[in-house]
């Protein structure tokens, strides 16, 4: 299995809703990532988990809450979002968290994304 699977593919939610995005990989990767991508822009890093522990939080608002229940699963809990949070949310994984080494252990494998629309 060489895939990262994200569900749902599309999500529409109101500003008062609570929803979750889910991500799964079975490649034995120990680093998992959430990225946000707006139209015509590169992916922007939100969170990184390494060995199920939160390693990086790129100053993301608390209305986004990540969770890593085990080494294969990554969730992003959404609550009280704003319309400007509408975007493609990408999950990715890598063999391990890079520490600057020039190695393919740092290469990210991305899922297809969850397209979020906040009304």
């Amino acid at each position: 299995d060489t895939e990262v699977t994200q569900t749902p593919k599309h999500l529409v939610m109101g500003m008062t809703n609570k929803k979750s995005l889910k991500c799964e990989q079975h490649m034995g990767h120990r680093a998992m990532y959430w990225y946000k991508q707006k139209a015509k822009k590169p992916p922007e890093l939100m969170f990184v988990y390494s060995y199920e522990k939160l390693s990086i939080n790129e100053s993301v608002p608390s209305r986004f809450s990540p969770e890593c229940p085990n080494s294969s699963l990554l969730n992003l809990h959404l609550h009280a979002l704003q319309p400007e949070d509408s975007a493609l949310y990408l999950c990715a994984s890598s063999l391990r968290l890079g520490t600057g080494g020039a190695t393919r252990a740092n290469v990210l494998t991305f899922g297809a994304g969850s397209r979020l629309t906040v009304l």
Binding site: G100, A102, R104
Partner: protein, 112 residues
């Protein structure tokens, strides 16, 4: 031709032409670079990588060139096909940091 402005830079080529997509990276200390391809409705997909101790690497129909003097990367695609139409991102790995930094991206449009 190539257009740069408020919109995503776009390179338009004819099928069968060779394409060259350019990327200026930000940090002279970056030691590893990756090119990703993102098709419409999909996540970015790894194409090719290069370490900073190399200046050229070839794959199947793709070649990456690295010029550390001017902090420039390029991706060359030989005999471009309609299936190559996508947005291409370069990404740099910064020593001491635990993340890849993505460039702004270039849209490649291949017409039959």
């Amino acid at each position: 031709g190539e257009s740069v402005g408020l919109h995503l830079p776009t390179l338009s080529v004819q099928e069968g032409d060779n394409s060259i997509i350019n990327c200026a990276y930000s940090n002279s200390a970056s030691d590893y670079f990756i090119w990703y391809k993102q098709e419409s409705g999909k996540g970015p997909q790894f194409i090719i990588d290069i370490r900073s101790n190399m200046d050229k690497r070839q794959g199947q129909r793709v070649t990456v060139l690295l010029n550390k003097t001017v902090k420039h990367l390029s991706l060359q695609i030989a005999a471009t096909q309609p299936g190559d139409s996508a947005v291409y991102f370069c990404a740099e790995n910064l020593p001491g940091f635990q993340k890849l930094v993505f460039g702004t991206g270039t849209r490649l449009l291949v017409s039959p």
